[in-house]
Subunit: 115 residues, 2 copies
């Protein structure tokens, strides 16, 4: 029973929800420090939340030098991808602020801020 609950627990916390939301909308990978800047949350908290999202099988981590690059997992099962795709129906002001900030990061660094 734990298994199907894991993704809901993961998404029921605001910071983790915002991480998944911007990862779903990002066209490139984001590095951990960028996520911390975009969401204005201390990096040590981002690190902990990413561990939880990773345990739930929702994200992919790629290490390159000092950086860890994040993206949505590319092997989501039907259930998980369906839940995550549901986020496409949302248009809350607050998460759109995150998206705007995320896109500015991508633009301002031409996608290679951390490389």
């Amino acid at each position: 029973m734990e298994y199907p609950l894991e993704i809901f627990k993961a998404l029921s916390e605001e910071t983790r929800f915002r991480i998944i939301f911007i990862l779903r909308n990002a066209k490139d990978e984001l590095c951990e420090c960028d996520i911390a800047d975009i969401l204005d949350v201390p990096q040590y908290n981002i690190s902990k939340h990413l561990n939880i999202l990773d345990s739930a099988g929702m994200i992919k981590k790629r290490k390159e030098g000092r950086w860890i690059f994040l993206s949505l997992s590319d092997s989501l099962d039907k259930f998980k991808s369906s839940v995550i795709n549901s986020l496409g129906h949302l248009n809350s002001e607050l998460i759109n602020e995150d998206l705007t900030k995320m896109k500015q990061f991508l633009i301002s660094t031409s996608g290679n801020r951390c490389s």
Copy 2:
């Protein structure tokens, strides 16, 4: 921001998840005492969890005599109905046990156990 998180918080607790799961698969309404029997959870806990699911706008309550009949809300927005429909991709053993038990309740009472 609270709004989109509410449904994930609601579904991140096992009893509430199981309630939504059987309501989604029930063809008839279920009364609260039946839900308590099916899930083998004290009714006072079911009552509390139903309040949370109700606050999240996920269920419909209909009072008739001593009984409260439950069903999924018939006015779910796109986001919520998409999340709930994701449950259709699951086939966990444990929740199937709940379904079997739920169907036995419907059969054994010809849908009018509580009326």
